[in-house]
Amino acid sequence: MEQTLREIASAIGTPLLIDNATSKRLFGHYARILVDMDFSRNLFHEIVVEREGYSFTVKVAYEW
């Protein structure tokens, strides 16, 4: 499951670390992941996640 999260995060940068609350699913509402980003590129506030026969949008909040 963490790998899928890394895949989703890689839409906006290079995934580095997933925090404890996220990997152990201690908090249901958010997933938090450390991502290395290139700020010369577009900053996206949503990621469309697709798989076979389904897609949905996740909102992205940046902390810095």
């Binding site: 890394r6 895949e7 989703i8 890689s10 580095l16 699913r25 249901g28 697709e50 798989r51 389904y54």
Partner: protein, 167 residues
């Protein structure tokens, strides 16, 4: 030694550089980011084989790898979901309060955990299918006050699009 002498003694170096240039090119090392290099002690998962995102105008989309997704689905087969129904005027519960109440009621062989999904929905994680089944078989839990109705885990559940029935 005078300053100019020190400057004059430098020219030995370029010869060395010339020799280095004849060496075979170094074997390509895996590309790691600056942050990965800093956190070398923390085992970071590999970023190889990540799918490429697709940028369509202002939107970015990512197609997740199907078999990894399906593996994740298998893990969820031992989960249950629940909806907490309170009567008007009942004091709302904190997730921890519900957890300690259920801890006393549910006799599972291994530890379980839960998270709040919002809107009165909760997800329960059991270690084994047997634990999940025994809890599910026990059925709706009376929390005095409020009841917790359990239902099967299903994919693509969205607590925000659930119809709230007051039957």
């Amino acid at each position: 030694m005078f300053g100019w002498q020190a400057e004059m003694s430098v020219p030995a170096a370029p010869l060395k550089v010339a020799r280095v240039a004849t060496l075979p090119p170094p074997v390509a090392s895996p590309v790691i980011s600056f942050a990965q290099a800093l956190t070398a002690s923390t085992k970071a998962a590999s970023n190889d084989n990540l799918p490429q995102p697709l940028i369509r105008g202002e939107r970015v989309s990512m197609k997740i790898t199907q078999d990894i997704y399906e593996k994740g689905m298998t893990v969820c087969k031992t989960n249950l979901r629940g909806r907490l129904l309170l009567n008007k005027g009942d004091k709302p519960y904190a997730t921890k309060e519900i957890q300690s109440k259920l801890q006393k009621l549910w006799k599972t062989t291994r530890a379980w955990s839960m998270v709040s999904l919002g809107r009165g929905y909760y997800e329960f994680f059991f270690a084994t299918k047997m634990d999940m089944r025994s809890v599910w078989a026990a059925g709706t839990v009376n929390l005095k006050s409020g009841v917790l109705r359990l239902f099967e885990w299903s994919k693509d559940f969205n607590m925000h699009t659930q119809r709230n029935t007051h039957a």
